[in-house]
């Protein structure tokens, strides 16, 4: 839809309209240059006013000039070309320049083809209709330029080519150098070109003219393509080929239709669409329209660009929005599946929780309580074994009399021992403290040697011989000896086997 346009083929006598878009074309008809034709043309234009239009002019009142100009760019080039066109074509309104190639030698100048419609009054009514109906005119180009694209489509790549194209009872002779238009002329229908020999003569005259103008080298062999849907140029091939300066070749309609990818019957019915179809999708390289006629097309292109930008923005934006929306749907679907799984888990949990005993403590506390009770019930002190260990030491020291025995269970504490404290007295104490202390030490060694007992220490002794304390006492005689007592206290630890 972006490349949909009208291609107009205008001659002083009529105008043809082709509705073209890539892959499709429709011939809307031909309209004579009179009041009825203009009205009918206007009707067609009104119906397609939204489409850009390109006008191909086919007239004898045209002029071509090949010029070498200094290589400049931008604004300087525009000014240079404007001056040159003014100089060459004087007051012609429809002029244009096409920079074809750059010379490879010398100053490396640019070679331009300058062209003009020297008399374009016949074009004014058609352009008025287009202007009145606000049709965006993209350009005006001579038919010879359309034929250049035709040659390109035909893949004809000879260095010196002359296309003899018979259309609307006129013969157009166009010269192309390396595929680029250098010169063209139209021989009108008032000339008796219906005769094949006259066509060959016109071609020969044109060859002489081109050679005379140094457009065509004198020794060059000119390849002539004869294109005539009516077949009247066929007989010109033989006389041309008889001349070694020419090499003529006929282009039949099926080959042309195949090259342009249009149906044979459509081309046979409307042979004038051939150059229009060839140039329709191409960039306009030689535009003869003055800038004021192109204003609407400039607006059209800006408008179309903005609309395309708006469409692109909307498309991309909607794409992004759709992607987010789809992502949201996907995430919601995942969440829904997870919610189902959660529901399933909660159902299973409820089934398990219903089986819990109602009055029991929390399961963790329940286990801890059992564990604690087991701990408290473990490592109980065996008093019999404890007393047996102490008794074993007492048996080894019969001169020790036990007065008090006390034990404290610390087996649940980190030390894990049982503390024992005992108070005892020495029997048969004669007042000799040295001997008494020796007997006590012997008792302590006996305790230390007893099973499970350790850390035996003397807490209080019969006499305190420490140099930091006061020591008082008396000696005993034989009568008082029996009343004397030597008391002492010991502390020790008991640890059961395996604890």
């Amino acid at each position: 839809m972006l490349d949909h346009r009208l291609i107009l083929l205008a001659t002083p006598r009529q105008i043809g309209v082709l509705d073209w878009r890539p892959g499709h074309m429709h011939w809307l008809g031909e309209f004579s240059a009179n009041a009825e034709g203009l009205a009918a043309f206007r009707k067609i234009v009104v119906g397609h006013a939204h489409l850009p239009a390109m006008l191909v002019a086919d007239t004898v009142d045209e002029d071509y000039r090949s010029e070498l100009l200094p290589h400049v760019k931008g604004h300087a080039r525009n000014e240079l070309l404007a001056r040159k066109l003014k100089q060459v074509f004087r007051n012609a309104r429809f002029t244009g320049a096409w920079r074809q190639v750059r010379e490879t030698t010398g100053r490396r100048d640019d070679r331009y083809l300058l062209a003009a419609l020297t008399d374009a009054d016949w074009l004014t009514p058609w352009l008025s209709v287009l202007h009145r109906e606000r049709v965006p005119l993209s350009g005006i180009t001579p038919l010879a330029m359309a034929c250049e694209h035709l040659l390109d489509k035909l893949r004809f790549q000879e260095q010196h080519t002359l296309l003899a194209y018979r259309l609307n009872n006129s013969l157009r002779l166009s010269y192309y150098h390396n595929g680029l238009l250098r010169f063209s002329r139209l021989i009108g229908s008032d000339t008796p070109t219906q005769l094949p020999s006259n066509a060959a003569d016109e071609i020969a005259k044109t060859q002489l003219y081109l050679a005379g103008q140094r457009i065509l080298p004198r020794e060059a062999r000119l390849h002539v393509l004869l294109l005539d849907p009516s077949g009247q140029l066929d007989s010109a091939q033989a006389p041309l080929n008889a001349d070694p300066a020419f090499s003529a070749r006929l282009i039949d309609l099926p080959s042309l239709a195949r090259a342009l990818r249009i149906p044979d019957d459509f081309l046979a019915a409307t042979p004038e669409v051939a150059p229009l179809a060839a140039i329709a999708g191409e960039t306009l390289r030689l535009n003869l329209a003055p800038p004021e006629l192109l204003q609407r097309h400039t607006e059209f292109r800006w408008r179309r660009g903005l609309h395309a930008a708006a469409g692109l923005i909307a498309f991309v934006g909607l794409g992004i929005a759709a992607a987010y929306w789809l992502q949201a749907q996907d995430l919601d679907e995942q969440a829904r599946l997870l919610a189902q799984q959660q529901q399933h888990l909660e159902t299973r949990y409820q089934a398990i929780a219903r089986a819990f005993p109602a009055q029991a403590a929390a399961p963790e506390q329940l286990a801890q309580t059992v564990s604690l009770a087991q701990h408290l019930d473990s490592r109980l002190t065996d008093p019999a074994a404890l007393l047996a260990s102490v008794g074993q030491a007492l048996e080894m020291t019969p001169d020790i009399a036990l007065e008090n025995l006390e034990w404290t269970d610390e087996s649940l504490m980190p030390s894990g021992d049982i503390l024992i404290k005992l108070d005892a007295t020495l029997t048969s104490f004669d007042g000799n403290y040295r001997t008494a202390m020796q007997r006590i030490e012997r008792f302590m060694r006996a305790l230390q040697a007893a099973p499970h007992l350790k850390d035996v220490s003397l807490q209080s002794s019969p006499v305190n011989a420490d140099s930091t304390s006061t020591l008082t006492g008396k000696t005993f005689d034989a009568d008082t000896r029996k009343d004397a007592a030597a008391r002492f206290s010991l502390s020790l630890r008991y640890r059961e086997v395996g604890s």
Partner: protein, 199 residues
């Protein structure tokens, strides 16, 4: 393309602006939808994890209950769980004294106190000290009494310590009179009643 003819492109520019606004609005709206959906999904994942953890925990609790419920109920029946049963403890001491054939005893129960934290394992464990004073003929009487108490007492207790002392310094005579006195400290343990049910 030459300089844009803004005067004739107002509608087109407005169209571009409208497209931009509409696109921005729709993208923001759909982005918000996606963000909300992502948040809902994250919340649902968290809820699912919680449900999974709850189920795993309930299975563990189920296992704990299956393993320990009988033992716990036995402990509750023994009086370890719940209020103190001081009468049962006194009765156990009296019966043990009788079983051991001793000469009577005196007892004293102190108020219940909290057990040391190192012992409680985080449970509301309390302990009550029972001080028993009993005369003995020989040292082995104490062993027989403690053994009898162990068989009579249903609660959980430990003998914290004992002190044995002779009642006088008279020489040994073969008469059936107590010559020793024992004073023992017993700790009776109890755990406060139900703290919380299964969850």
């Amino acid at each position: 393309m030459s300089r844009p003819p803004f005067s004739v492109l107002k509608l087109s520019l407005l169209l571009v602006l409208t497209a931009l606004l509409l696109v921005a609005a729709s993208v923001l709206w759909s982005w918000g939808l996606a963000q909300d959906a992502a948040l809902r999904l994250q919340q649902q994942r968290n809820a699912l994890n919680s449900a999974q953890q709850q189920l795993d925990r309930s299975r563990q609790q189920q296992q704990l209950i299956a393993t320990h419920l009988d033992a716990y109920q036995t402990l509750a029946a023994r009086g370890f769980v719940g209020d103190e049963d001081r009468l049962a403890w006194i009765e156990a001491a009296q019966l043990a004294n009788r079983d051991a054939g001793l000469y009577g005893l005196s007892y004293r129960l102190t108020p219940r106190t909290k057990s040391p934290p190192a012992l409680t394992q985080g449970l509301p464990l309390g302990q009550t000290t029972m001080v028993l004073t009993l005369p003995l003929l020989v040292e082995t009487d104490l062993m027989r009494f403690l053994s009898a108490l162990r068989s009579r007492a249903s609660g959980v207790y430990r003998v914290q310590g004992c002190r044995m002392s002779s009642l006088g310094s008279a020489p040994f005579e073969a008469v059936n009179q107590p010559r020793l006195q024992a004073e023992c400290d017993l700790l009776w343990f109890t755990v406060a009643g139900k703290v919380g049910g299964a969850s």
